[in-house]
């Protein structure tokens, strides 16, 4: 009897859900971005939102919730009703670094979110100022070995993926650098271009104009393979620093408890959107690759990266206080 009732209850629950996934989205969808308008994550979100609005015939509204190292936006995304009408676009920082970096991260990616799809991926590069004596990664490592801790490297900020890659590079090559955090990639790139700091770990898209003008040289890219922006840049691994890879990515998440049918539907449409020519072109303009994935692929990547970043944060003793 009780088994029967459970079965009926289960069927009753599933029926509207199936129908629900078919009619989704029946009202405007909110896309939470834990950054202020204007940055690269916000741009990726706006381009994607415009495309999904066209596909769905429903407004997809970008909801900027900046502040608190991304905590405010992530908590808003985690606490939203798990009905598919609030999605969150998180970057490598919120999804794979914050929990290891901060003692008080108010969300837990595994507990609070389900992965939907990768969205964008952008290369990070090691650059040197035109006036600096460095022409290769080897030059940099030699220089750092000669004067440990006396070579300055600009990054877009403390606790960013760039700082973690810098520490990882130091650990794996047995050197030390002076970390100079800036407030964002633009000022960081200008600092290297103006030779205020000889080296930098910055996004490739932020430095390409300075590369073209000859103000900076790209010494290596932190990818597993060479960059689509310029095939002549060697990877850091090719240059002899083993294992060190990383990039700036953004991915789409839904609150935990979102019905799998809805997640599947969103994944399917987001993948279609990310494969459309106009979106690929706009992302390329902003210096990133439109990358899609299955939810499982995203979960695996997140797990792999957060594990290695956690061990680097621990080994290098990067602290947020």
């Amino acid at each position: 009897m009780s088994r029967m009732r459970n079965l009926i209850a289960a069927v009753a629950l599933l029926l509207p859900l199936g129908a629900y996934a078919q009619t989704y989205p029946a009202k405007p969808v909110h896309l939470v971005v834990p950054y202020a308008p204007g940055g690269s994550t916000d741009l990726a979100a706006r381009v994607l939102a415009a495309k999904l609005t066209d596909m769905w015939g429903q407004q997809v509204v970008v909801d900027n919730r900046p502040g608190g190292n991304g905590f405010i936006g992530m908590v808003a995304g985690a606490k939203a009703a798990p009905d598919g009408y609030t999605l969150t676009l998180a970057t490598v920082g919120e999804a794979a670094i914050s929990e290891a970096l901060f003692d008080n991260t108010p969300y837990n990616m595994a507990r609070d979110f389900v992965p939907v799809s990768m969205v964008a991926d952008a290369d990070l590069v090691l650059v040197a100022a035109k006036e600096s004596p460095f022409n290769s990664v080897q030059d940099v490592l030699d220089g750092a070995k000669k004067q440990p801790g006396r070579l300055s490297v600009a990054t877009p900020g403390a606790g960013t993926i760039s700082q973690i890659l810098l520490e990882w590079m130091s650990l794996n090559s047995g050197t030390k650098f002076q970390h100079i955090p800036y407030k964002g990639g633009g000022p960081g790139a200008a600092a290297v271009a103006g030779n205020n700091v000889p080296l930098g770990i910055l996004s490739a898209s932020g430095v390409t104009s300075y590369v073209k003008s000859g103000h900076v040289r790209v010494l290596a890219v932190f990818g597993t393979k060479r960059s689509s922006l310029d095939q002549s840049w060697p990877t850091l691994i090719e240059s002899g620093v083993k294992d060190v890879t990383g990039s700036t990515w953004a991915a789409l998440f839904a609150p935990k408890g979102t019905p799998p049918a809805i997640v599947e539907k969103i994944n399917k449409d987001v993948v279609t959107a990310l494969k459309s020519d106009d979106l690929i072109a706009r992302y390329a303009g902003a210096g990133s690759l439109a990358v899609s994935s299955t939810p499982d692929e995203l979960a695996a990547r997140m797990k792999r990266e957060s594990d290695s970043y956690r061990s680097i944060i621990k080994a290098a003793n990067i602290r947020s206080d």
């Binding site: 202020a36 690269s40 916000d42 900027n64 000022p187 790139a189 932020g206 073209k212 947020s320």
Partner: protein, 499 residues
């Protein structure tokens, strides 16, 4: 091609019907959001961004730029009429602009703001056209030590903004710096004075601070002295500045424009530094009769010309370095990148239509704004005839909407409430808010650049005097200090002699 033919080419781009229409739409929208304290240019640009995907880069940027400098025009209107600076650069305008409005001279104040902005805008456009390439190189070479020394100069000089005592002004600058330090430390990522509130990790919002210290505290003071309320409404006076006033302002507008154009080139905070530096300069060199602080028309002309010039020339670091000087500029960089254009040193040669088209459109846009704003002055000052008992609740509501809409965060409204209380007490103690705002904005930049300098130089402080730009700023600081202290000393000595 020389600059003139470049400009002619740019005018060819800007004067197509399509681009004219987008320029006008941008200016109109900008003026509206500038006047309405609830919505800022950032929100407007963010909302319009998807719309620009379908446009070419030139019309998109022309429209977004129109919103940006249109909002600068509109922002001065609220600063003068109701003492609410919409952006940090119009804080200085509130000092004399609002006093003029209270004296029944809102019309001339708004008029000279529009005319001064127009002249400054035209001049700054020429500066960009002629000097953008070498200036970009100078801005690039501006290192952290140079920024630090410039900020020191700015902060030391800011005490001139205050009407009353020197000590109080210095205390207010320090208080502003302390408020500015709330939030995440750039160098370590540590959170300071956060009290466990995630909303405070990015610091206190400028809009919330401005609404509290200027908008709400002023309403409180007005309500207290209720006998004065309708003096305001009774005397509307002339709409346009007289010929004599205009002649009096011309040299001020000229000097402020040059100063604003120079400071606007520096990435970050340029327009604010410009507006207050111009005010300070005019206050120092003004020939009597001068009534700076209690409604001098030159006290409006100076910051308005300077901030508009600075707003225009800040397109130089934005286009050629990709370094935004404020969030609106950051949005514009985003719009360009989506179009496949990365701002950078090469943008002038790669996309001449975009660069020169934008410059020429600024000219056209400034003219449109003048034509749009001068007739509106009559309408705006009629707002002042609304009885105060109906005005003040509206000001309250707009302050709250304005603070809320920045981050869609209720916490920011609480911030306004708390800071209004602090602001009221400070005003009762005769402490001026303007130097505090400067400390608030410049203090964190000062600290950031000091620590960055010391990290890059590994603790060697001599860089501050060996770098020429930095050394020049420090020398100027010493001169300002001497100029400030000398009269006081002489006065003291005279007093002693008399005794």
């Amino acid at each position: 091609m020389d600059t003139l033919s470049h400009l002619a080419f740019g005018l060819g781009v800007a004067l197509t019907w399509q681009n004219l229409a987008y320029c006008f739409a941008g200016c109109l929208l900008g003026t509206m959001v500038g006047v309405l304290p609830g919505v800022g240019p950032v929100t407007t640009v963010a909302m319009l961004l998807p719309f620009t995907f379908g446009l070419g880069p030139a019309p998109a940027l022309i429209m977004l730029a129109g919103i940006y400098y249109g909002a600068q025009y509109g922002g001065s209107t609220t600063a003068i009429l109701v003492n609410i600076p919409g952006e940090s650069s119009s804080v200085v305008t509130t000092i004399d602009g609002y006093q003029m409005a209270r004296n029944g001279q809102a019309g001339p104040a708004l008029g000279i703001a529009a005319i001064g902005s127009f002249i400054a805008g035209c001049f700054a456009t020429l500066v960009i056209a002629y000097f953008a390439p070498p200036l970009a190189e100078i801005a690039l070479n501006f290192g952290p030590a140079d920024y630090f020394s410039l900020m020191i100069l700015g902060l030391v000089a800011s005490v001139v903004l205050a009407r009353g005592s020197l000590i109080k002004a210095i205390a207010m600058v320090c208080f502003g710096i302390l408020l500015g330090l709330v939030g995440t430390d750039v160098n370590s990522g540590a959170i300071r004075f956060g009290f466990g509130r995630p909303e405070l990790t990015d610091g206190i919002g400028f809009v919330a601070l401005a609404m509290a210290f200027f908008g709400i505290t002023d309403v409180l003071l007005n309500l207290e002295q209720n006998q004065n309320q309708d003096v305001f409404a009774a005397r509307i006076g002339r709409i346009l500045p007289s010929v004599a006033e205009f002649r009096q302002c011309m040299p001020t507008i000229g000097r402020s424009t040059v100063l604003g154009s120079i400071l606007g080139i520096l990435p970050g905070g340029g327009a604010l530094l410009a507006s207050f530096a111009a005010y300070m300069l005019e206050k120092k060199i003004a020939k009597p009769p001068c009534s700076f602080g209690s409604g001098d028309i030159r006290g409006v002309a100076a910051p308005e010309s300077a901030n508009n010039a600075g707003a225009q020339t800040s397109f130089i670091p934005m286009l050629t370095l990709g370094v935004p000087s404020n969030p609106t500029m950051a949005m514009m960089i985003g719009a360009l990148m989506i179009q496949g254009i990365t701002p950078g040193p090469g943008v002038m040669n790669e996309r001449p239509d975009l660069f020169w088209g934008l410059i020429a459109s600024m000219w056209v846009g400034n003219l449109m704004l003048l034509v749009l704003n001068l007739p509106l002055v009559g309408l705006w000052i009629r707002l002042l005839s609304i009885p105060y008992r109906m005005m003040f609740p509206a000001i309250f509501v707009f302050c709250c909407i304005g603070a809320y809409s920045v981050n869609s965060e209720v916490f920011d409204i609480y911030t306004v409430a708390a800071l209004s209380g602090v602001g009221y007490i400070l005003l009762k103690l005769d402490c001026e808010p303007a130097p505090m705002v400067l400390g608030f904005v410049l203090g964190p930049m000062l600290e950031e650049n000091l620590r960055r300098t010391m990290m890059i130089s590994f603790g060697d402080a001599s860089v501050f005097v060996t770098r020429p730009i930095s050394a020049a700023c420090l020398v100027a600081t010493v001169l300002v200090l001497v100029a400030m202290v000398l009269p006081t000393l002489r006065q003291k000595r005279d007093e002693v002699m008399v005794e």
